[in-house]
């Protein structure tokens, strides 16, 4: 079985000329379908940079980066934009559009897929909002929703098109313990139901338990991967 994400010898640099700084050093990583991966580490460790590279939000510079069996290192902007449509994104700040209602925001996640009719877009958006527990708030504007509710709308938006990969950056950072917990549990449940892979960057220790694998990064290096540790453990024990 081909891994859903395959990173080989990935380096990344910021800046040019005198100010050029290497931020990722020889990253090697394989992620399989349906895994929930948490990337953690101190600030500046490069975990968010890695996330943006895997998500096609940044162009990879050197090495190999295969996502859904397609090489995306070295492709042009147009191709990268297309690649992004297969992913769902959840940001720390929900980034919902203030002039759109909850259901309109979720619908934006479907508009890019031309095979879905307008009617179907509305029914699916409605259904998604119900799943995240906001069925009664579909016509509310973001400024009438709480932080947790906004983040749930963002999740609905990210997942409504049933993406293969979900990328989340500190989704619980702005939320209290209960809301944060609810948010990641919804993500976990939907991921299992839709069979998608989740890549989550976080500092939040309260949610580490939902992960299948924890990847720890420091100073641009991949320090430890609990998957391989477990494997090593299994090998040692077995």
């Amino acid at each position: 079985m081909m891994p859903v994400i395959s990173v080989k010898n990935l380096d990344h640099y910021f800046g040019t000329g005198q100010l050029r700084k290497q931020v990722l050093f020889n990253i090697n990583l394989e992620i399989n379908t349906g895994e929930i991966i948490i990337m953690t580490g101190p600030s500046g460790s490069g975990k968010t940079t890695l996330l943006t590279l895997v998500g096609g939000l940044r162009a990879a510079q050197s090495g190999s980066l295969q996502v859904l069996e397609e090489e995306i290192c070295g492709v042009n902007q147009k191709k990268l934009t297309e690649v992004r449509r297969n992913n769902g994104y959840i940001f720390q700040a929900h980034n919902l559009h203030g002039s759109l209602t909850a259901i309109q925001n979720v619908r934006m996640g479907l508009e890019l897929h031309s095979n879905i009719s307008p009617k179907e877009m509305l029914t699916r958006s409605q259904a998604m909002l119900e799943i995240v527990g906001l069925g009664h708030r579909v016509n509310y504007y973001p400024d009438s929703l709480s932080g947790g509710q906004k983040q749930r709308v963002a999740i609905a938006r990210a997942l409504v098109s049933q993406p293969k990969i979900v990328l989340a950056d500190e989704p619980t950072a702005a939320l209290d313990k209960q809301s944060g917990r609810d948010v990641v549990e919804i993500m976990q449940r939907l991921a299992k139901e839709q069979g998608c892979t989740i890549l989550l960057v976080t500092h939040d220790n309260r949610i580490l338990d939902i992960a299948d694998r924890i990847i720890y990064m420091e100073d641009g290096h991949l320090i430890s991967d609990s998957h391989s540790e477990q494997n090593d453990l299994a090998v040692n024990l077995g």
Binding site: T81, R84, Y89, A93, S99, L100, S114, P118
Partner: protein, 391 residues
């Protein structure tokens, strides 16, 4: 076509939703556009009124075809040509009549204030109505009397008393150079840039004002065709029959000839075009301000859309959607308000200021271009919506 329609149906009207969500900003934008439109409408309205008033005399001529010297520049600067040309023209098939008109500028003493001022004098044939002004044609008998003139009641200057006197039947006398003339009647024409006022009389009376002019040299030849006769054919025949020292124009062309003079030789064209450009630029700046503020306010959301996989092209579409909505909505008050101002202006200036469908269409097009232009400049801001910065 169907594909485009269905595409539009699926699309969230993001531009409209963004604009309508911020009421006060929308109103500011619409006021700005309306203001620019009002400026442009007023400039065009006044310009048109001036061209109108300057061609009033030309349009009042009772003629199908007009003959002028090629040296003539406008109604107040006509070069003379030989009356013989009229006789030659009369021979051309289809011509019903060929009459002469003399026009010149005189200095007269205002009968009321006794101060000298310049006046346009017209000498016409009393046996043949040359102007489409009923009051003039009703008084053709009295202008046969020696030194008897009729006067434009809409002339510019202080004439109210004198006109009142003439209206009650009492004649008014005044001087032109050393000649004493009588004003026995009035008619309505209107002042223009070229002439503050007009006096009309017979050819003989006119020539007495200009002792150095030869009766054989006339300023305008007015040609009337047989009813129903093919105008194009007549013109071709006249051009063929008459030598090159005479210009043959249809009445329409003669009106345009006058208009073109004022467009190019006077500052009217330049001044009002400048005014229109200023109005346009004001509009562009205001709409640009609104659109770029709008883009800035939504940069994060746009970057999010880019992250989701929306192309730059889509976001450009949103901005242009906003530009068009602003243009159309802003045009509504921008059209209605000038209607009111025109009325006020007519009362204040006595100029013929009015709205035309062509002008409304022109300003609507300018408004749309104005908004699209602002939109194009505002899209520069979009470049900074970088999805990678969202994380």
């Amino acid at each position: 076509m169907i594909g485009l329609l269905s595409k539009l149906q699926r699309r969230t009207p993001l531009g409209w939703l963004q604009l309508s969500h911020h009421r006060s900003r929308l109103l500011v934008a619409l006021s700005g556009i309306a203001f620019a439109d009002v400026l442009i409408f007023m400039q065009l309205g006044f310009q048109n009124a001036l061209y109108d008033s300057n061609t009033r005399l030309n349009r009042a001529l009772l003629a199908d075809i007009v003959l002028i010297s090629p040296q003539s520049r406008n109604m107040q600067n006509l070069a003379t040509f030989s009356r013989r040309r009229l006789f030659q023209a009369a021979d051309v098939p289809g011509v019903k009549s060929a009459t002469a008109m003399y026009i010149g500028l005189v200095t007269w003493k205002n009968p009321q204030t006794r101060r000298k001022t310049s006046m346009q004098a017209i000498g016409l044939n009393p046996e043949q109505p040359a102007l489409d002004i009923p009051e003039v044609n009703q008084q053709l008998e009295q202008i046969k009397l020696p030194d008897d003139f009729i006067f434009d009641r809409a002339s510019r200057g202080e004439y109210a008393e004198a006109i009142k006197q003439v209206d009650t039947g009492k004649a008014v006398t005044t001087e032109i150079d050393r000649l004493t003339i009588t004003i026995s009647g009035v008619f309505p024409l209107g002042a223009s840039f070229g002439a503050d006022g007009t006096l009309i009389s017979s050819e003989d009376n006119f020539l007495r004002l200009f002792p150095r002019r030869r009766p054989g040299s006339i300023d305008l030849g007015l040609i009337k065709l047989q009813p129903g006769y093919d105008q194009k054919q007549a013109i071709a025949d006249l051009k063929f029959h008459l030598p090159d020292d005479i210009k043959v124009l249809t009445k329409q062309e003669f009106v345009k000839f006058e208009e073109d003079y004022w467009k190019t030789e006077s500052p009217i064209g330049f001044i009002f075009s400048l005014g229109v450009s200023m109005g346009f630029i004001v509009g562009v700046i205001i709409v640009y301000q609104v659109l770029s503020t709008d883009v800035n306010a939504h940069i994060k959301e746009y970057a999010t859309f880019k992250a989701m996989g929306y192309r730059n092209f889509y976001l450009l579409g949103v901005i242009f959607e906003e530009a068009i909505i602003l243009a159309v909505l802003g045009f509504i008050p921008g059209f209605v308000i000038p209607l009111g101002i025109y009325k006020l202006a007519v009362n204040a200036t006595n100029l013929p200021i009015y709205m035309t469908a062509a002008r409304a269409l022109t300003v609507l097009s300018l408004t749309i271009i104005m908004c699209m232009l602002s939109g194009t400049i505002a899209t520069q801001k979009l470049q900074s919506a970088d999805p990678a910065d969202m994380f």
